[in-house]
């Protein structure tokens, strides 16, 4: 068994930490079932840029090229035979590469700790999000209300500053604007729009959210970013209670992040039964 190459291992570890810290996505590829260099790894960013080596430049290159395809799939991990994606590398015909997705914990910033915001923080934390809950009423963001220590609580002196600081680079961050009032919602959305958050949603009726978006547009906010705001926020699940509204919001965020459509997974069954009798597999 080859000794791990210490300088390379340190380089790789640093690169992994950088990926997680930046909130970007990458794949860690590990050589398995090979006649040599089993366990060597390379880290490949979404762009295809790689750190590390299997000890064969040609193999490094084909694995880096294969990575974006793996990252586009929803798999957390997948074992590929080298012969299936690089038959020309006859030396590695029997070898396999384990691809593993590296992805930071998704983050959720919630502006407003009322009934909907509070329920959203609790559901999101259970679903694997690192939730940050902001309110300008200090007694709404006390630990007593949120025994789950994974939920970060922020009492804002000023909505704009608190929101911008919580969102940071915005990479991997979803934002829900669900404060107690329209003015606060507008103030928060103005601050959120100035960031690069992945997902932004605003609570309210069609009419009310239109008013807010129109006003921000007139004040010179980025039109492209305004267009991407999910308003009214959430999936249409007929939500009535605050907890159901929170569920609708979280489902839309996951669908946005993972690339789902929101419809029923079983709709094909009814469609195919109602439809032209086409074969369903």
């Amino acid at each position: 068994m080859p000794e791990p190459n210490e300088p390379s291992a340190a380089l790789l570890l640093k690169a992994i930490l950088r990926v997680l810290d930046e909130g970007s996505i990458a794949a860690l590829a590990t050589l398995t079932n090979a006649r040599k260099n089993v366990g060597t790894k390379i880290l490949v960013a979404e762009s295809g840029d790689a750190v590390g080596s299997f000890g064969d430049v040609a193999l490094d290159r084909v694995v880096a090229k294969r990575t974006p395809g793996f990252l586009e799939s929803r798999d957390e991990a997948h074992l590929f035979h080298v012969r299936d994606f690089a038959p020309e590398l006859t030396e590695w015909a029997e070898a396999s590469i384990l691809f593993e997705r590296l992805e930071p914990e998704p983050r959720l910033v919630i502006c407003g700790a009322g009934h909907v915001g509070a329920a959203l923080a609790r559901l999101a934390s259970l679903t694997g999000y690192k939730a940050t809950l902001i309110d300008d009423r200090p007694d709404f963001v006390v630990r007593d209300r949120f025994p789950d220590g994974r939920i970060e609580l922020i009492a804002a002196q000023n909505w704009s500053d608190a929101v911008r600081e919580a969102i940071g680079s915005g990479r991997g961050v979803s934002v829900a604007v669900v404060t107690r009032g329209h003015n606060e919602d507008e103030e928060c959305l103005r601050a959120v729009i100035a960031t690069d958050a992945d997902y932004v949603g605003l609570i309210g009726s069609k009419r009310r959210t239109n008013m807010v978006l129109d006003r921000l547009r007139e004040a010179g906010a980025d039109v492209e970013k305004l267009r991407k705001v999910h308003a009214p926020i959430g999936l249409d699940i007929g939500a009535v209670t605050p907890e159901e509204v929170a569920l609708a919001i979280l489902s839309e965020m996951v669908a946005d992040r993972r690339g789902g459509t929101g419809g029923s997974l079983s709709s094909w069954r009814r469609e195919s039964e109602l439809g032209k009798g086409k074969q369903v597999r």
Copy 2:
């Protein structure tokens, strides 16, 4: 102020308890702003059958007739002016009736306490469901794993009996079949199909769920009920982790109960902006 009519009040209270106990839906209508009998109530079932009286048979009758329309709306409570729905009752022109929805806590029976079932029980409990979690592996349904005491835990000797008993009349009950294996899923679904549960969902791929449904059909299961099974279970939110799968399932259950479509509430915005420039309000 009139004294409450004791025998009527007792009758009404019993009727309310019966409604909640049966898991059916009803409206409680209370007379307000009237010149007499303020605070008198009638309880009206979905069918329009009423218990109690406002002290005026004509008023009792029109309120009972108005109730199904209120129950079809999603409102929890609504105040109606009598003159708006019964202008012929001039004596009550200025009176109002407060309609309040009475509805039992929705129930969720989960067959299988693996990763998805466990996450589903926790999310559902937070969202206002009374969840029952069943497994035939006793150490999967211990209180240590589920500190939330609102989640009912059942170690099944036998899936069929446990499932049938937990579902009961099926009124107001959603069922998720998410066991550890295909054979267990099939055994559970066979028992579930024999009940009158409001919502039934089965986990698995299209191909696998087709096989199970075909086999039950061949064994003589009710075709109409098989058609209503949500399979694969859940909304298409691109769920990857067990917690996200649980979120997709719960969202579909709420959408089914409340009458939502599953799509994004904000889709009208993109459609109208992409579309024919039609006016959006």
